[in-house]
């Protein structure tokens, strides 16, 4: 039974999430009325901060489902009670990410065109199917978990969801991987890199939400579950760091890519700062320290590590998406170039307030959906009854 205080707190959370979402929608409306001229984007940096938020949420939406997969596909008992929460978070994050992506379009009101006109050569068009299919499959998966008559179908549904999200994140990585124009992208490595990044980011989001729910209910995670989830996050973070290192080392080996790598890793101002300070130090090394040193491991340390992984994710995506566009196109290799259109120049991008608000609005929408889902259905992991 829910107490009056719980009900009041629930409505407070809904009001908070709703307000943040509304502010995001307001920002999107302002962008639509005035055009993208009020953002920091221009004809060189065409995808800005909203894409950083959207791609974080979409990639994390895939990874957060790991918890459910490990439980119902691979039969790990500690993960099974967490499967429903993992499924709910997946849908919520996907909805938040897609909201930001759609509202950042130049013509968001034409979203029906995207749903009725497909160019099947486009990775974006594949993703329209992959994202909507993901919501449907996870919804069915949740249904099989909650409806006792269909419990037996939970494993096949879980396998379908597992395969689907691998394809989905391959699709997200391929949005960039198939771009031959820009030096930052055009790599087959980006698909597996995005999959491994999704593992870490998704688990980090899951741990943050789970910690909040446990604290809210004044409960504590069993120490062995905490240790297991913490170690797993550490492994994912290490694997991501490895693939990111391979991506940069490959580039450094190709002479034509050296200028771009020097820009991202050393000379590019905010980009090397965010890469080394944000992604490597705060987002990878520090969390691994917190997660792999047993005598440091506590609920607080795991939560701090998960939060740092999220911070690192944003730093990495900013470097990858914005840095990749800020570096000029090499239209005339071997030449110094200049023009009135910024050719040969690094583009300076500064995100504007509407971009921040739209991105945060997407997080608010994911939060709102999660809060309502947790309240309406029983998503609290039940360790005591396993």
């Amino acid at each position: 039974m829910k107490t009056i205080a719980e009900t009041r707190n629930f409505w407070l959370l809904v009001a908070l999430g709703g307000l943040v979402t509304l502010v995001g929608l307001g920002a999107a409306h302002t962008m639509e009325v005035h055009g993208h001229v009020i953002t920091g984007m221009d004809n060189a940096v065409v995808w800005g901060l909203p894409h950083v938020f959207a791609i974080f949420m979409i990639v994390a939406a895939s990874g957060v489902l790991n918890v459910a997969s490990i439980g119902s596909v691979f039969g790990q008992p500690a993960y099974k009670p967490r499967a429903p929460l993992s499924g709910l978070l997946s849908i919520a994050l996907l909805a938040g990410g897609l909201m930001v992506l759609m509202l950042d379009l130049g013509r968001p009101e034409r979203v029906i065109v995207a749903a009725t006109h497909y160019n099947f050569a486009s990775v974006f068009a594949w993703n329209v199917f992959l994202y909507s299919g993901m919501v449907a499959i996870v919804a069915i998966y949740l249904w099989t978990m909650f409806e006792r008559r269909f419990n037996a179908w939970s494993k096949p549904a879980g396998i379908a969801a597992l395969i689907w999200r691998f394809v989905l994140t391959t699709g997200t990585g391929s949005i960039f991987g198939f771009l031959v124009a820009r030096q930052a992208y055009q790599s087959a490595l980006l698909a597996p890199l995005f999959i491994v990044l999704s593992f870490g980011w998704g688990l980090a989001v899951f741990l943050v939400v789970q910690a909040a729910m446990y604290r809210w209910n004044d409960r504590h995670l069993p120490p062995e579950t905490l240790a297991r989830l913490g170690r797993l996050l550490g492994v994912f973070v290490a694997a991501s760091l490895y693939l990111v290192a391979v991506y940069h080392l490959t580039n450094l080996y190709f002479e034509r890519q050296v200028g771009f790598e020097a820009f991202i890793l050393r000379d590019g101002g905010i980009f090397p700062l965010l890469f080394w300070g944000g992604y490597v130090l705060l987002g990878s090394v520090l969390p691994m320290g917190l997660l792999f040193r047993p005598h440091w491991r506590s609920e607080g340390a795991v939560l701090a590590a998960a939060l740092l992984v999220v911070v690192g994710a944003f730093a990495w995506l900013f470097v990858f998406i914005i840095g990749g566009q800020a570096w000029p196109l090499d239209i005339f290799p071997g030449h110094e170039v200049s023009s009135a259109f910024g050719d040969g120049q690094v583009t300076h991008y500064r995100p504007s307030m509407p971009e921040w608000l739209l991105g945060i609005g997407g997080l608010g929408a994911a939060f709102l959906l999660t809060a309502i889902g947790v309240r309406v259905l029983d998503f609290m992991p039940q360790d005591d009854f396993k």
Binding site: E32, H34, G35, H36, V37, M41, D42, N43, A44, V46, W47, L105, G106, R107, P108, R110, V111, I112, V113, A114, A115, T116, H117, Y118, N119, A121, S122, V123, F124, A125, V128, F146, E147, I175, F178, L179, V180, A181, R182, Q325, L329, I331, F332, G334, H335, E336, V337, S338, S339, A340, F341, G342, D343, G344, T347, L377
Partner: protein, 254 residues
């Protein structure tokens, strides 16, 4: 313990089932209806004048040895022709620009007009999710303003920075050149002129008028055309030829 909660539980589940089905219906119905409306609309406008000729491949030859540094008559003519205004900011549309290049090893300099290269294998067309970016039968790469959703993926995919996004509301549009806020656009090879039967683009015309004649426009597939003759006789280069996109714009002297 078992009786009463089971009934409640069963009732709650049934209610949830009905609610979920109702919600799904409410969410899907408008979509299904809109798809019906979209399908009911004619898939393509009725053809007038026979459409683009697939035997033609429109292209340009830019002779950088004739292009004068500091002259931007082609740029001005393009912007006037297409109603773009004078670009001053990085958010303003530029369908053509002059790039000054200097070879690092030799110090050799040139001034090069760059616009949409009208590739035979255009990456912008490949990546466009709705098919708004398309290549006409006569090789001109265009954007359908009615189905462009402004996702800007084509701008990410273009190796020439040839496309612009309309960042703010537009005024004083030319009737021949419809544009739209929130859509992507680029050089159309003055398709409105070609479809009227004219045989020269605004930039090539302005360049000839300025006495340089550095831009030759014509049908690459017509062996008797000046452009076909010139590209047969002199060495020409396609920008980023390594990508094998087969641009319809060729350069001499770089």
């Amino acid at each position: 313990m078992s009786g009463a909660p089971k009934t409640v539980d069963g009732g709650r589940r049934a209610w949830l089932g009905v609610a979920a089905a109702g919600l799904a219906g409410v969410m899907l119905a408008p979509g299904v209806r809109l798809i019906e409306i979209a399908r009911a609309a004619p898939a393509a406008p009725a053809k007038t004048g026979g459409g683009a000729n697939p035997a033609v491949r429109w292209g340009m030859l830019i002779d950088t040895t004739k292009c004068a540094p500091g002259c931007d008559d082609c740029v001005t003519a393009c912007h006037t022709e297409n109603g773009l205004g004078t670009p001053t900011r990085s958010t303003d549309a530029r369908w053509i620009r002059k790039i000054d290049i200097k070879e690092v090893r030799t110090g050799r300099q040139a001034s090069v007009p760059v616009m949409c290269q009208h590739c035979a294998e255009p990456p912008c067309v490949d990546v466009c999710p709705t098919g708004a970016s398309f290549k006409r039968a006569d090789g001109i790469v265009l954007v359908d303003r009615h189905s462009c959703i402004g996702c800007r993926y084509c701008m990410m995919a273009c190796p020439y920075k040839a496309r612009s996004f309309v960042h703010e509301p537009l005024t004083d549009q030319h009737p021949d050149v419809p544009r739209g806020k929130g859509c992507v656009e680029s050089c159309t090879l003055c398709v409105h002129r070609l479809d009227r039967g004219e045989k020269i683009t605004a930039c090539a015309e302005a360049c000839a008028k300025a006495g340089h004649s550095a831009i030759v426009f014509g049908d690459l597939n017509d062996p008797g055309s000046e452009i076909a003759r010139r590209v047969r006789e002199i060495q020409t280069t396609q920008l980023r030829a390594d990508l094998k996109l087969d641009p319809g714009v060729r350069y001499h002297g770089i």
